[in-house]
Amino acid sequence: MPYHLPQDKPVSLRERLYLSEAIRGLRILTSHFVRNFFFTRETNPDILARSRKLSLNATLAYPEEKVPYPPGYRGLHRLVPREDGKPRCVACYMCATACPAQCIYIEAGELDGDPIEKYPTQFIIDELRCVVCGFCVEACPKDAIRMDSGEHSPPTYERSQQVWDIKRLLRGTPVSYQYDPWLRRGASSIPEDKLAEMRANARPFHTVATDEYAQTPGFSVKALAAEARARAEAKK
């Protein structure tokens, strides 16, 4: 229902006198000022969790105090390594195709003695052109590129330093899944004992829903978890 604005009334005499309204406004300001002035600021980076009993200050002293980015935040890219230090990437060019800013450049090379056969000899992301949309992460069929680094691209003095190549991109915790071809079929380039260790560390993914999948559109973590629960229930 449309309704008329409740406060759109003519200016009353009290308001025209100016002083009483000014004092009322000052009361709001003073209450903030006194509380912020006499009580110390809380330093909890989560502004919402700060208690507002004493100080109302919502400031964050930025370089010293930082808000940790929430899980799922689209931060700086990284290429996900396997345990043996090679990238998971198979140079399929999906991320470069999906990228609306066309800022990913890949050169593919051949990998001997490894079932994935193809790997990127060069993988370059121009972070200055990147619009941080996250489409590359969604597009990767190998979970080989992620934006889970929890940081933004650091400021630099030169443009060229914002062009990240594979040496800088390949970092962070390695990831393996049980179905990964080098684990299933073995790879002559990886020593046997290392392979066994990797197999032991590899994660299943089929029914287990974790938050990292939440980066996929159309994928509800909760729904998947519920499905898995229902299957387990049915088995019993």
């Binding site: 309704y3 502004i47 808000v67 929430p70 799922g72 609306p100 619009v131 969604e138 993914f205 159309g218």
Partner: protein, 441 residues
């Protein structure tokens, strides 16, 4: 037309009424401003502007980089004393070629472009575009996705209105208001970062749904944030609404009557402030707005104060909508389960050949949208946001058109401020909430 003779461009019926440049030969940007106003060629003689000048006019350039001209807009003002005799707007400094850029990208890749239209309320643009394409695909999305879109949109509506109110306060001298408003907006943006992974450029919607579900505990956190926002809005209202200085500067300035507002093509809060109770969320409900209980605030005078009040009320109404959404939302799918439109879940991509094929097809060819054309209109923070999309059946838009919500208001600005004081230009420019990103595309 109701405003015959008021705007200097009223004679040229093909041009936007009231715009000063209407019917005049264009002059290159950067020529001396005097040339734009003073020496009008003889051929255009029956115009008000050609009337003999009774005082020497002073031409003042406001902008393109002027703190009160949000973003980069150049307003060339011809002053007689302190009264605005003429005004000319020069926009386009933020033109990025939105429509053409989109035509070179797949349907999905358009989302980052739409983010940057109204950069304060990106999810509303995402939603508008997604609805247009879904109209073409005849796609009905799951309920939860609809609710999530509404939730994102309404949070962003609050952000947008908060920005307007605080900037208006700031530019009329009330710095405190700006600090409170931005504190509230930041809280909401933090929640949005948890929801969609970025504070500003959300890229949240996808064709057929949304990209992520709300994380665990997000609804409680957002409700707590909304409570805090309400407190701050209360304080802003306490500082501004009955403040004599604010009242004096906003009352009866930048007035647009109901008839004029309709004639000028206003929509959104500015139209409602003029007294026309038109809100697309009510007039043609999309998503789940027909299941939500909310009211539309309507002003009476159509002046800057009414536009401010309408925004303040709409913040409260959006808050109502959000709380209802949180109650009505049920767990479920967040995107259609049709791999012609939506990327398959990752375990299917990693593990099954069908999933992998659908994934590759979608990324490489884009979504194959049936040939045809569609227009979607949604209620964005500043008015009607329209996307006109034409598809030739391929993976990219054949043509894309945008009706920017802020444009009619901006075009009417010269008409609104003509004859008023120069100081009134500031609140008027603030209250129409011109966002360069969407107006200049």
């Amino acid at each position: 037309m109701a405003h015959e003779g008021k705007g200097t461009g009223g004679l040229d019926t093909t041009a936007t009424p009231g715009s000063l440049g209407a019917g005049q030969p264009s002059h290159p940007i950067g020529t001396a401003p005097e040339a734009a106003f003073g020496e009008v060629p003889e051929a255009f003689s029956p115009r008000e502007m050609d009337a003999p000048l009774h005082a020497k006019r002073m031409i003042v350039n406001m902008g393109p980089s002027h703190p009160a001209m949000h973003g980069v807009t150049r307003a060339v003002v011809a002053l007689e004393g302190e009264t605005i005799a003429d005004m000319k707007l020069d926009i386009g400094f933020l033109h990025r070629g939105f429509e053409k850029s989109c035509e070179n990208a797949t349907w999905t890749q358009c989302f980052p472009y739409t983010d940057r239209l109204n950069y304060i309320s990106a999810i509303m643009n995402n939603t508008g575009f997604a609805l247009a394409v879904e109209k073409l695909c005849r796609l009905d999305i799951p309920d939860r996705a609809k609710y999530l879109r509404v939730v994102g949109s309404e949070i962003h509506r609050i952000c947008d209105h908060l920005t307007l109110v605080s900037a208006m306060g700031l530019e009329l001298g009330a710095m405190t208001v700006f600090l409170y408003g931005i504190e509230a907006r930041d809280l909401l943006w933090d929640r949005l970062a948890e929801l969609c992974g970025a504070r500003l450029t959300s890229s949240y919607c996808r064709i057929g749904g949304v990209s992520r579900d709300a994380p665990e505990g997000w609804i409680e956190k957002t409700t707590a944030s909304l409570d805090r926002v309400n407190e701050l809005v209360g304080e802003i209202s306490g500082l501004l609404t009955r403040n004599r200085i604010f009242l004096d500067r906003t009352r009866d300035t930048g007035k647009v009557s109901r008839e004029d507002a309709i004639d000028l093509g206003f929509a959104g809060p500015c139209l409602r402030a003029s007294g026309e109770p038109y809100d697309i969320r009510k007039a043609a409900p999309y998503l789940v707005y027909d299941r939500l209980d909310f009211d539309i605030p309507v002003g009476e005078h159509g002046d800057n104060f009414d536009r401010y009040l309408v925004r303040m009320e709409e913040i409260r109404q959006s808050d109502r909508i959000l709380r209802q959404c949180f109650q009505q939302m049920e767990p479920g799918e967040i995107a259609v389960k049709d791999f012609h439109y939506v990327l398959p879940p990752k375990p299917q991509v990693y593990g099954t050949i069908e999933g992998l094929m659908a994934h590759f097809k979608l990324i490489m060819d884009g979504i194959q949208v049936p040939a045809g054309e569609a227009y979607s209109y949604t209620e964005a923070a500043n008015g009607e946001l329209g996307f006109y999309v034409v598809s030739d059946g391929g993976g990219r838009p054949y043509k894309l058109g945008l009706r920017a919500p802020g444009w009619p208001m901006l075009a009417a600005l010269p008409y609104m401020v003509k004859g008023s004081l120069l100081a009134d230009l500031i609140p008027t420019f603030d209250s129409i909430n011109m966002i360069g990103g969407e107006v200049e595309q």
